[in-house]
Amino acid sequence: MSTNERKKTSVKLGGITLEVERRGAGRPLLLLAGEEQLELDAPFVDELASSFEVIIPSPPGFGQSERPDWITGPDDIAYMYLDLIETLGLTDVTVVGFSFGGWIAAEVATKNDSAISKLVLVDAYGVKVGGPTDRDIMDIWTSHPAKVVAAKWVDPAKGERDFSKMNDEELTVVARNIESFARFGWEPYMHNPKLKQRLHRIKTPTLLIWGEKDGIVDTRYGEAYGRLIPGSRFAVVPGAGHYPQLEAPQAFMSELRKFIG
């Protein structure tokens, strides 16, 4: 089990301390979790850690990471992660980003993908593909919470979290994550208008994996996202919503392994 030990470290980048978890051994895999950080406790990450060193940074304001005021979105966070790659001396990195983490991953790759060998975006946000009155990304903040859960999960029971079982420290992380997600995703809503124009810069082989029934960003959005990244491939995981890695982990891992080895 030693390969699966969850090593919590902190890394200082440009004066900001980020929490960085390192798990397993092997080639580096930078795992950029979704806004709820549900991936941290998911079994598929342990499976990845059996053949990769999985490196999981918490973005500013998430987990235990600091959040200075000047960080206003994934565009800024991406520079921090380039610093992280450099500081840890990583090369030949596989980057896998989920949802909000997928948005950050795309931003990183548009800026400098020389240390990245494979890029995987899973049900990612980040671009606006339609016109001003098209709702490309479901508005999770103006919708009734029950509708958001139904859009996110094929089986909404899987999305239930029992906050009564969490201590104050854990709840503080949940509350910080919710707040920081709004800080970075409120306006423009869940996208960076410039990212769409920068995606052509990505030369790294890229796979997009999408939950077939994702009601937050649907597969049409995912396909349009993919068309903006030259040579990318698009794979659908049946029976899953916004989190295929959690709802259909076997099908998800099968697609992922085919691509990253």
Partner: protein
């Protein structure tokens, strides 16, 4: 003590409230009939003019995308009243400076209204209730910082300047600020600010000589906030000179039975519904509050007051109603319970309360209650040493 007439300018002509999931943010605007709207606007403005005639001051505010308040631009109301009234002070409580996003435009509007009214304006600033976030699409995690950066810029812009100055802050960047007109009052109109829990905010207001106002809170909590204010307050000599303001629902009538009926109409405001996602946008309150929200022990301010009995609300000082002597007695009791306050902000109209009864209540108040409370002593610092710091 100064007394103020207030209405949110509600639009009550809705389907049965039980049939609506929300009255705020997303209630279809097909429910708004412009002809009814025209009648309501003119009626509410008439009531402000009558309030001015009978000797009350005039308080207005604004909200957006809601049937609870169709005053969507308080500066417009204040401008009309500046021109059409002659006696009472006019207070906007307040300008949602974080949500409007252009502090200098607000500074200009306030200066112009202050000139038109010949110095009768008090300028309130509010962060805005949670629902307002959605209409303005302001990032809910930065509204406090936006509020304070904006206020400080307005105050600086109102001051005489020999040449344009620049301001390159976190939220506003301008390079040649030179406000025309300047406000009528020197150095500027009194400034008011609202709050409901953030003690640091309250102390910051006190330290700057701003009036601190709070609405519809149980008297124990009002005292806690006013004590916080008084502990940090010093009279800076600004117009208005700082102080405290409290708003209950108020209805005055010749008999207790009539008063109770009128007050019952006012509870329409307390029952205004909103869907859950609008009540606590992410990051609107600090992380510690949201930890409690996750535990289910924090549900938001307005929810706490909803569905309480009128007797309970009267006991708490959230509602004040009765015959003139009873109303005066309730206000004096409240005054004692909270350690004194300077401005009684009266929501004297809400929901379906009609013109006749609204005017009857405010006239009776002005004639028979106001003289009994007018001379109550004004806010004094709680600890002179803290105030001097």
């Amino acid at each position: 003590m100064e007394a103020w007439h207030f209405t949110e300018m509600p639009y009550p002509n809705l389907p049965p409230l039980d049939s609506l999931s929300t009255m705020r943010v997303s209630l279809s605007n097909t429910h708004f009939d412009p002809k009814i709207g025209a009648d309501l606007y003119n009626r509410y403005l008439d009531e402000y003019m009558i309030a001015d005639d009978v000797g009350l001051n005039l308080l207005c505010n604004e909200h957006h995308q809601t049937a609870t308040c169709i005053d969507v631009a308080a500066p417009l109301t204040a401008a009309i009243l500046a021109r059409q009234t002659s006696k009472g002070r006019i207070c906007i409580l307040g300008n949602p400076i974080a949500n409007r996003g252009d502090p200098l435009r607000i500074a200009e509007e306030m200066a112009m209204i202050d000139c038109i009214s010949r110095g009768r304006l008090d300028v309130g600033f509010v962060r805005g209730v949670p629902y307002e976030i959605f209409a303005a699409n302001t990032n809910p995690t930065t509204t406090v910082e936006r509020l304070w950066e904006g206020i400080d810029l307005v105050v600086k812009a109102w001051a005489p300047t020999d040449e344009p100055f620049n301001f390159e802050g976190r939220f506003t960047q301008r390079r040649a600020i030179n406000l025309w007109p300047r406000p009528y009052q020197t150095p500027h109109p009194g400034i008011w600010i609202t709050g409901s829990s953030d003690l640091e905010n309250i102390k910051r207001a006190a330290g700057r000589g701003f009036v601190f106002a709070t609405f519809l809170q149980p008297h124990e909590k009002v005292k806690w906030m006013f004590d916080g204010y008084r502990s940090a307050y010093r009279d800076t000599g600004l117009p208005g000179g700082g102080g405290t303001a409290y708003m209950p629902l108020v209805y005055t009538a010749d008999t207790e039975a009539e008063a109770e009926k009128g007050a019952q109409e006012l509870t329409w405001y307390l029952n205004a519904k909103a869907e859950p996602q609008y009540r606590n946008p992410p990051g609107y309150v600090p992380v510690e509050f949201n930890v409690n929200a996750l535990k289910g022990t924090f549900t938001g301010r307005t929810d706490a007051m909803r569905k309480k009995s009128m007797e309970f609300l009267k006991e708490e000082g959230v509602m004040v109603y009765g015959t003139p002597d009873s109303v005066a007695k309730q206000i004096k009791r409240l005054y004692d319970l909270v350690g004194g306050f300077d401005h009684l902000l009266m929501m004297q109209q809400a929901g379906w309360l009609d013109h006749k009864r609204t005017v009857s209540s405010m006239s009776l108040f002005a004639k028979e209650v106001y003289p009994q409370i007018r001379d109550l002593a004004r806010t004094k610092p709680l600890e002179s040493r803290a105030a001097a710091e």
